[in-house]
Symmetry: C2
Subunit: 383 residues, 2 copies
Amino acid sequence: MQSTISVNLPTQSYPITIAPGILDFLGEKMQALTNPPLGSGSNVLLVSNSTVFKLYGQRAIASLEKAGFKPNLCILPDGEQYKNFDSVLKIYKAALKSRLERSSTLIALGGGVIGDITGFAAATWLRGVNFVQVPTSLLAMVDASIGGKTGINYYQGKNLIGAFYQPRLVLVDPKVLQTLPWNEFRSALAEIIKYGVVWDAEVFRCLEESSNLKTLLDVRSHILFFLLSRSCQAKANIVAQDEKETGLRALLNYGHTIGHALESLTQYRYFSHGEAVAIGMLAAGEIAVFLNLWSRQEAQRQSTVIEKAELSNCIPSNLEIDKIMEVLSWDKKVQNGKVRFVLPTKIGSAYIREQVPPKLVNQILLKLKSRSSTSLMSLGKPS
Amino acid sequence: MQSTISVNLPTQSYPITIAPGILDFLGEKMQALTNPPLGSGSNVLLVSNSTVFKLYGQRAIASLEKAGFKPNLCILPDGEQYKNFDSVLKIYKAALKSRLERSSTLIALGGGVIGDITGFAAATWLRGVNFVQVPTSLLAMVDASIGGKTGINYYQGKNLIGAFYQPRLVLVDPKVLQTLPWNEFRSALAEIIKYGVVWDAEVFRCLEESSNLKTLLDVRSHILFFLLSRSCQAKANIVAQDEKETGLRALLNYGHTIGHALESLTQYRYFSHGEAVAIGMLAAGEIAVFLNLWSRQEAQRQSTVIEKAELSNCIPSNLEIDKIMEVLSWDKKVQNGKVRFVLPTKIGSAYIREQVPPKLVNQILLKLKSRSSTSLMSLGKPS
């Protein structure tokens, strides 16, 4: 099983290569890049976190050395709380020490946090060096590692500081998912469900037909490989048409308007990203049904898949809807007075609705809350 | 007198507008931008230094308010030593406080230091907000404000951290030069001489024919206006053909290979940038003559103009040539083993020579030093 997807941007193209065991061919795949070549024998800087490096670092290094690169290391602590300037400065220091040149390469080996920080450092060191992504979480594989959004958190704001900066190569090795906990796996499933609803009906049907989504954790699964490939393809297609998010790319925010509000309101402590997005998708789905844009039957199919992924299907009983609306209204402000929602029209396609009445949103959120049998505190802290 | 030059890049174009008194039309010119518009009524953040702000800040603010913008301020201390992360963090803080949106604008009012820092902040805040340059030094007008190189210094390295990020608009008001000291003015003349030698023979002849370059300080001068327009045009043309410096743009490094080595060797304390570049141009000229690429007569014309600008024409007697060569060899290393020189072939055109023998460079530097009647210590510290 190997699949290569090309992300074709106006100024640059790059491949996403998906294959079990491809981690051992990192150096070789980098060496195969041309236009311009990365240059064998030159310094590269591998950035990872302590957890991932322990598991996969040596294999990455061995592969780089075999291809003639000289790997230098920068190992950061593991966790979203380290997605900050201190970590970027650590990478800069390592880059200085490693004497990276403009044609050198920064490699991110890790999940979304490592990818985002490393990408930002790559975008800004010497005004931009080569950047290679080796995502090791499902979420990073299908989302963060593709499309060039890099960034770090600042004060309360996620990714307030960042840059659009494209990698030269993304290497996806499904085998590394065998060490991923189910909790993180299901969180990433929310993004795959999203691709199914807004872009690719085949992805949705595949999820629907799987009797047990936990079996996907078997990394030899052809279904996992299919979902990975099609999700990456969906993101690649969307990003290729709208790199800087001026239009179409906003489709990827399906479920994220309310999802972000929930995460932000609870200080990112109660919902995993996937859980919050799942609630957001349910809410957006209900709004679409109310506005006669989507059939009740398809919205029900979405709920069923979300439940199968063991993602939340309601708003915890002790969350105040008024507070969610307040956070949303702040979001509204930053978007020049408009509340935008991505609303599905049928499985596999959606559109961006500029003005959804806040009153309707409020009503839908109340409905989702009334179903609730869980309280906020009973939600597990995401790992 | 008004001249508008368009910088046409593959992904984006922007105007450089040159006119005496145009500072008072900053808001109006920003409002006139379309595709996409900057949006009247929205927050903007004006970044300046204390010296420049005292002179021109209120006029900029008045103009912005008149056009319906809400200007917020971030005033940094004056000096190259503040071109660092602390200053960028100050801008981020002000951006957060001002609630800048992705469609908001950062305006740099100042010389190259302010432009470079502000540009970097604009490139990285919310993954890129609009950026407007209002250069107030001659050097920033003809060089730093055009072309999208932004950055800050890090440890010993100049611009080690930065990004390529283009402004939406560059406003050049020659009237603000009336407060510029001659010392800074002549330093910038080195860059104008550079354009004359490598790109635009008309610029060179104009400098040659001016009986006294100090008269250019008269900001009503048509000659100053001509030199500004043609220099900006030269840079715009070169940058349009090679935004990311993969080829042609390297022409702009004429005089800079040795120039940077001299600055770096003396910790940026003895030569102004223009003085160092002037020596670099003399050396490159001598190399070109030695290699029979350039006529002795034209090299002499270059020397005459450099002297007329009161720029250094020799290497101070107490600088060791071996040390210059050592710094150059480090430069060589970062360029993958090649010493590159930009060498003139006739006034108005030059080319990039990949491999110049270090022995020849050494010999030319010795020759320039032997002419010397000044010592390093007798050079004034640049203001």
